[in-house]
């Protein structure tokens, strides 16, 4: 009996470790994104380099976390909810790792952008960063609270990011057509915008997994807003 209780406490601790690992990874990626935004706005290359360096840490944590999940699957054979949680965790850590990579890509582009003159003040990009950060944060909040409504709200937000991305794209297109000297800068900004859009997609993916974890239903590849007819 004592042995059994001990084992279950140990098991619970392992599950919590995985959960905390996910949240920590989330916090790191969110921080990286925030720093990227600051690096861009303040033309702070040191900060950008810091983000690129930190991506290794995110990658390492991702691998560690995935190993933990697999070990737990193999040794404890979790069932039902726990099983869903572990599989969800494996997916979420993948999403977070990709977000980390995107943040690193953004930082690399910021490093280049900081070397050439700015063509216009950044207005939409910081907004995109804010929304994307909010999506990551809320999707992980939804994970902590097992809140399906919140996860659904995160899925809705993806549309805003997509719109902003397109808006930036059109704007930059006109810049490029007007002045060929602005093509280089525009392309880099476009890549940043695209990365942010991808980050939002990954955040949406996390929200999908949270819904799956709580309800057991998969909502992936379903439009967040049902078309009204």
């Amino acid at each position: 009996m004592e042995q059994k209780r001990h084992t279950s406490a140990e098991y619970e601790r392992e599950l919590q470790e995985i959960k905390d690992g996910l949240l920590y990874l989330g916090a790191l990626t969110e921080k990286a994104l925030e720093k990227g935004s600051v690096a861009l706005l303040e033309r702070n290359s040191d900060l950008a380099r810091e983000i690129v360096c930190q991506d290794d840490r995110i990658d390492r944590l991702d691998v560690e976390l995935e190993e933990k999940c697999i070990r737990l699957l193999a040794l404890r054979q979790p069932a039902a909810r726990d099983l869903r949680f572990i599989t969800t965790a494996i997916k979420i850590t993948g999403h977070l790792e990709r977000i980390g990579d995107m943040a690193s890509t953004i930082a690399e582009k910021v490093l280049i952008l900081n070397e050439i003159p700015q063509i216009k003040p950044y207005i939409d990009l910081p907004r995109m960063v804010e929304i994307a950060r909010g999506m990551i944060r809320r999707s992980l909040d939804a994970l902590v609270r097992e809140d399906v409504a919140l996860a659904n709200a995160v899925r809705q937000e993806d549309a805003v990011i997509d719109q902003l991305n397109e808006q930036i794209f059109r704007e930059l297109l006109t810049f490029m057509m007007e002045d060929p000297h602005k093509i280089q800068v525009s392309l880099y900004i476009m890549q940043i915008s695209k990365s942010l859009e991808r980050i939002a997609d990954h955040a949406e993916g996390i929200a999908d997994m949270v819904i799956y974890m709580v309800t057991g239903k998969s909502v992936r590849h379903q439009p967040a807003c049902a078309e009204k007819g």
Binding site: R13, Q16, K19, D20, L23, Y24, G26, A27, L28, E30, K31, E42, R43, P121, I123, P126, R137, L140, V144
Partner: protein, 583 residues
């Protein structure tokens, strides 16, 4: 109470009574029986001896009469054991009586007695036999017998009477015991009820039991104990309250993590720092409650080393707070709890940053024109002086930079003057429209250069304000100059004035410039703070303009507020107090 003490005690008394009655009755019955047998045996012996004195033939003759007189059965037996006469039996076909135990005993000892069943008469009888002698020769035996039944009935009557009396005594004593037990149990019950109330926390006064026996002592002891306990509880409560007040009232944020690393409790200071209630985050891990990388790293370090960790942590919850965090083990309990103490250093950090920024900025601001001046002077020294046209251009640049330095020093002087309260305002009646037009005239050149549209919306009958005219001009110039600087060519600047509420007049300067991010607005009044660092400096600003305006407005008892949206423009509102004629 399963089996009450009362029933236990009473049952013991009751059973004891029953056993005593049973034993007493049995013993008495046996005693009575042997006494009766002895007594009747004696009587029979005496009769037999008397009869034995009579000549045998006379006995034979009067056998029936003797038997009747002595109310016994009389049997005469000859030496050979043959019955020669019997008072109850007329048919003497009896076997030899020599083997009867009473006869044998009589032959040997001279007197025989036996209690046995008579087959002849079919009843239990008591027999006594004595020998008849002629000289030393035994010639026969006289045997007297009586049935036992007679006195057995009387024994039974006697026994029943004794039994009844005993029963009566036992019943009475049981009644007495009942009263006694009740008297003994009642105070115990009172004590039990009292202690139960104490356990439930409803302590009210003392228990009153008058008896002076052990129960009385017990009651007194309980009273003393309760009093002592109450005193201890009160002291403990007081102590807890003190600690609780200390814990809640501390400005420092305190968080306790349990052995599993989950948040056990936080105090009010911590709640305020985090903008969360204790109930919201209790039971969660710090990562679940607020995903803070720095805090988690610090906690990990503490878990690895087990040594107290001091860290500066930026909390970005309800508001951004910089804290000095101390993470240590809760030592007294030794059960793996962790104590986190957060000391809010946001204000200190801000002041520190303002100071370091100020030093960095002022050196930068001085260094830039100085570098230019030194550079151009050196170029002139190295021969450029000979080329008159270039030299004049260089001199012009040197002059511009020197002027910029001078402006910077002037601004700093004004600022420190205001801060030290050395600048005396000469408050007088001032006309806003005149002041605005004068300022617009000063910036006319850059306005036309950037093809800016300037709209003024100033009603004719505005009341006068109380202001120092020179300072008013300086305030307006700084703001309008900013608007001109940060509005792209072709933009629009609107200067409007209107009587505001509460005896104030508001001047609004709006532009269609680049705007200021919302987060930066509160910092605009700081010295050398620039929302857009590169651009501002290119425009030749000292970084002190808004700071001066802010201070001057405060000195005028006015107020400055800024609204802005990035990309759309900025509106600066200046609220001046109206002039009141002292007369």
């Amino acid at each position: 109470m399963k089996i009450r003490l009362f029933y236990k005690l009473f049952a013991v008394f009751f059973l004891t009574g029953l056993v005593v009655v049973a034993i007493a009755t049995t013993l008495l019955e046996r005693e009575l029986k042997s006494a009766f047998i002895g007594w009747i045996g004696d009587e029979l012996t005496a009769e037999a001896h008397i009869i034995a004195l009579m000549p045998p033939d006379k006995i034979l003759l009067h056998a029936a009469e003797l038997a009747e007189r002595s109310r016994s059965r009389l049997t005469l037996i000859d030496a050979a054991g043959w019955v020669t006469a019997d008072s109850e039996l007329h048919d003497l076909e009896l076997d030899s009586h020599l083997n009867r135990s009473e006869i044998q005993e009589a032959r040997v000892k001279g007197l025989g007695m036996a209690v046995r069943y008579s087959h002849t008469l079919r009843k239990e009888m008591i027999y006594v036999a004595v020998p008849l002698r002629e000289g030393s020769q035994v010639t026969g035996y006289v045997r007297m017998a009586r049935p036992l039944r007679e006195f057995r009935v009387s024994i039974e009557e006697l026994r029943n009477a004794i039994f009844d009396i005993l029963l009566l005594i036992v019943t009475i004593s049981l009644l007495i015991a009942l009263v006694f037990v009740m008297k003994a149990v009642t105070p115990i019950r009172t004590l039990a009820a009292f202690t139960e109330r104490i356990r439930a926390g409803k302590v009210s006064g003392m228990i009153r039991i008058k008896s002076r026996d052990e129960i009385g002592v017990l009651a007194q002891n309980i009273n003393d104990m309760v009093a002592a306990l109450q005193e201890k509880i009160r002291a403990a409560d007081e102590e807890t309250e003190k600690l609780q007040a200390l814990f809640a009232g501390m400005a420092e944020g305190i968080m306790v993590l349990d052995a599993r690393g989950r948040i056990e409790t936080v105090n009010r200071g911590m709640e305020e720092m985090l903008g969360r209630r204790d109930a919201e985050i209790a039971g969660k891990t710090p990562l679940e409650a607020f995903r803070n990388v720095q805090l988690h790293d610090a906690l990990e370090l503490f878990r690895e080393t087990g040594e107290t960790v001091f860290r500066e942590i930026r909390l970005e919850e309800a508001r951004t707070v910089v804290v000095d965090a101390t993470i240590s083990a809760v030592r007294s309990e030794g059960d793996g709890k962790t104590l986190l103490v957060f000391h809010d250093v946001t204000r200190l950090k801000k002041l520190e940053r303002i100071r370091t920024d100020f030093v960095a900025n002022i050196t930068h601001e001085i260094k830039t024109p100085l570098t230019a001046i030194i550079g151009f002077v050196e170029t002139l020294q190295e021969g450029a002086l000979d080329e008159k046209e270039r030299a004049l251009k260089f001199l012009q640049t040197i002059r511009e930079n020197a002027q910029r330095l001078s402006r910077l020093v002037d601004d700093l002087l004004i600022l420190s003057g205001i801060e030290l309260g050395e600048v005396k305002l000469n408050l007088a009646m001032a006309n806003v429209e005149e002041a605005i037009n004068a300022v617009l005239a000063v910036v006319a050149a850059p306005i036309s250069e950037k093809k800016l549209e300037v709209v003024t919306d100033i009603p004719k009958d505005l009341p006068a304000i109380a202001a120092d005219r020179d300072r008013l001009a300086q305030i307006l110039l700084n703001i309008i100059d900013n608007a001109v600087k940060f509005t792209p060519p072709g933009g629009k600047i609107t200067v409007a004035a209107s009587p505001g509420e509460q005896g104030r007049l508001t001047v609004r300067i709006s532009d269609t410039g680049i705007g200021i991010p919302e987060g930066e607005i509160p910092r605009l009044g700081e010295r050398f703070y620039r929302a857009d660092k590169t651009r501002s400096r290119e425009q030749g600003g000292t970084g002190l303009g808004l700071s001066i305006v802010k201070h001057l407005m405060t000195a005028h008892r006015g107020r400055m507020s800024i609204e802005s949206a990035p990309g759309r423009g900025t509106t600066v509102s200046l609220a001046f107090p109206l002039f009141r004629d002292p007369a």
